[in-house]
């Protein structure tokens, strides 16, 4: 019963978030601010994680496919597929759920307990929309770019490791990258990224917005935000894969 109540509350909040904004230009400015705070600030962590993952996948493949019957180019192919299909959207989303999700929930939660949200409401501002909508919009638009960026950096990581270790020759790695290349897998990944961006921001916004009490509660809200967004990312990953790839 509690679950249904929670889901109902979430959808009521979303209907408030997506009601017509008061003054559009204020929202536009807030969206750019949020892109900076949530998106640009995540480029670093995405780059680091992706370059290492690309390198490790390449290394793993090279070690495990040590057979004269398997062409070396398959390693590049496998790296590309792993990055494109799962890593750059789903795993990066899980990492961002931790970074961006906890950030959003604690920011909005603190605003709640220090009465900043009440202050907005008194001014006649739709606080849910004012605070959460710019975050959702900026992440839904920006996350696909982070995904593409992660793909590029990951592939580059694989290339670097192939040069650095000499475990395979860089030319066959590059050959493999183009083997059986379907642009559709990029489209699929970008759709997933946009959906995950929405899930992270809206779920974290929800937990922050309904935080009560003191700093302990804000901490709890931000933990919940991360856990629940991660679970929903995994569930939607399954659903979207079923929908788009089969």
């Amino acid at each position: 019963m509690k679950l249904f109540e929670l889901i109902g509350k979430y959808f009521i909040l979303m209907s408030k978030v997506f009601s017509r904004p008061e003054k559009f230009y204020i929202y536009r400015r807030r969206i750019f601010d949020e892109m900076d705070a949530l998106g640009f600030n995540s480029i670093g962590i995405v780059a680091i994680v992706s370059v290492f993952m690309g390198a490790v996948i390449t290394l793993q493949m090279a070690i495990n496919l040590e057979s004269p019957f398997i062409p070396k180019s398959l390693i590049g192919y496998a790296t590309r597929e792993s990055m494109f299909l799962e890593f750059s959207s789903t795993v990066v989303a899980l990492i961002l759920a931790g970074k961006v999700g906890s950030n959003i929930a604690s920011e909005i939660g603190t605003m709640r307990i220090t009465e900043q949200i009440d202050a907005l409401e008194i001014m006649g501002v739709n606080s849910a929309s004012y605070l959460i909508l710019p975050k959702i919009v900026s992440m839904v638009f920006f996350f696909p770019f982070l995904t593409i960026f992660s793909m590029a950096v990951g592939i580059f990581g694989g290339y670097l490791i192939s040069i650095a270790t000499g475990i395979l020759n860089p030319e066959s790695y590059l050959d493999g990258l183009w083997y059986d290349f379907r642009p559709y897998s990029i489209t699929y990944s970008l759709i997933k990224a946009a959906v995950f961006g929405f899930l992270i921001t809206s779920i974290s916004g929800f937990y922050g917005y309904f935080a009560r009490g003191n700093s302990l509660e804000v901490g709890r809200a931000s933990t919940k935000a991360v856990v629940v967004s991660s679970i929903f990312i995994l569930i939607f990953n399954l659903i979207l894969t079923q929908l788009f790839l089969i």
């Binding site: 003054k23 605003m111 009465e115 008194i122 001014m123």
Partner: protein, 257 residues
């Protein structure tokens, strides 16, 4: 003028406000006093509509606020300024942006006019050269003053102050109290102030409502309060040294007379 009729508010079955009938006058500083936890903040937030009430009516100049829908309430909210217990400035905005936000949202002014208005209000609360500072860089008294500036920037008809001088030194408290009183009289605002500070009561208590145990226990002016025989009120009032001295002075004057 603001009036509450039989206002009842409870949380999870625990009654916090019980049958509050009160009237708050225009152009006056109306005070709500009471112990910590007596329900002052809840009363204030119920009146402005941040808490839904269980039963009763709230009138703003004969408009029944409780009967209005969300959109109609929004119209009235544009006439409401509120100063929260902790200031409630937006942490991610500068002082100037904080004060300007209501203008950005609801006025048709040009940027230059807005800046003029913001500076006028900041000037009014004696804050100079603070436009670019963030709330974390302000002292407690400055936060309160910015909150006042933000509350008055749209020329409100109703001003609500939740303990505007809690946590401030006595001198700054007096400055803030007098500032609110001046603004109230100057613009003929209906002002309601929550406080448990007896200094403020004696300074600006034109109309005082004492809340005890969730009920309206006593009502009067700062002149009545020293003569009252209400036990709970006296316990509350004379807990403060300043008030004790005032009472003693009054008694010695009576004896001499």
């Amino acid at each position: 003028m603001i009036r509450t009729e039989h206002l009842v508010k409870s949380f999870d079955g625990r009654v916090v406000l019980d049958d509050i009938n009160a009237e708050f006058d225009k152009g006056k500083t109306n005070l709500i006093i009471g112990q910590s936890g007596s329900g002052k903040t809840v009363l204030l937030k119920s009146i402005v509509g941040l808490f839904p009430i269980d039963s009763g009516k709230i009138y703003y100049n004969d408009i029944c606020y409780t009967d209005l829908n969300f959109k109609e309430r929004k119209e009235i909210r544009k006439d409401i300024g509120m100063i929260f217990q902790g200031g409630a400035l937006l942490d991610s905005s500068t002082v100037e942006e904080n004060v300007r936000l209501p203008l950005d949202l609801f006025s048709t002014m040009t940027p230059a006019e807005k800046l003029d208005r913001v500076n006028f209000c900041l000037d009014r609360v004696n804050l100079h050269d603070a436009n670019r500072l963030y709330p974390s860089e302000l002292s407690g008294g400055m936060v309160k003053r910015v909150a006042i500036a933000r509350a008055i920037v749209l020329n409100p008809k109703y001003l609500f102050c939740d303990e505007p001088n809690s946590g401030l030194d006595p001198m700054t408290s007096v400055v803030i109290d007098n500032l609110i009183k001046e603004i109230t009289e100057e613009y003929q605002i209906t002002t309601i102030i929550n406080t448990h500070d007896m200094n403020s009561v004696m300074e600006i208590g034109e109309k005082i409502i004492f809340i005890h145990d969730g009920k309206k226990w006593w009502e009067g002016t700062k002149h009545d309060i020293m003569q009252s025989n209400n036990k709970e009120l006296n316990d509350f009032v004379f807990a403060s040294a300043m008030a004790k001295r005032a009472k003693m002075n009054a008694e010695t004057c009576e004896k001499r007379a």
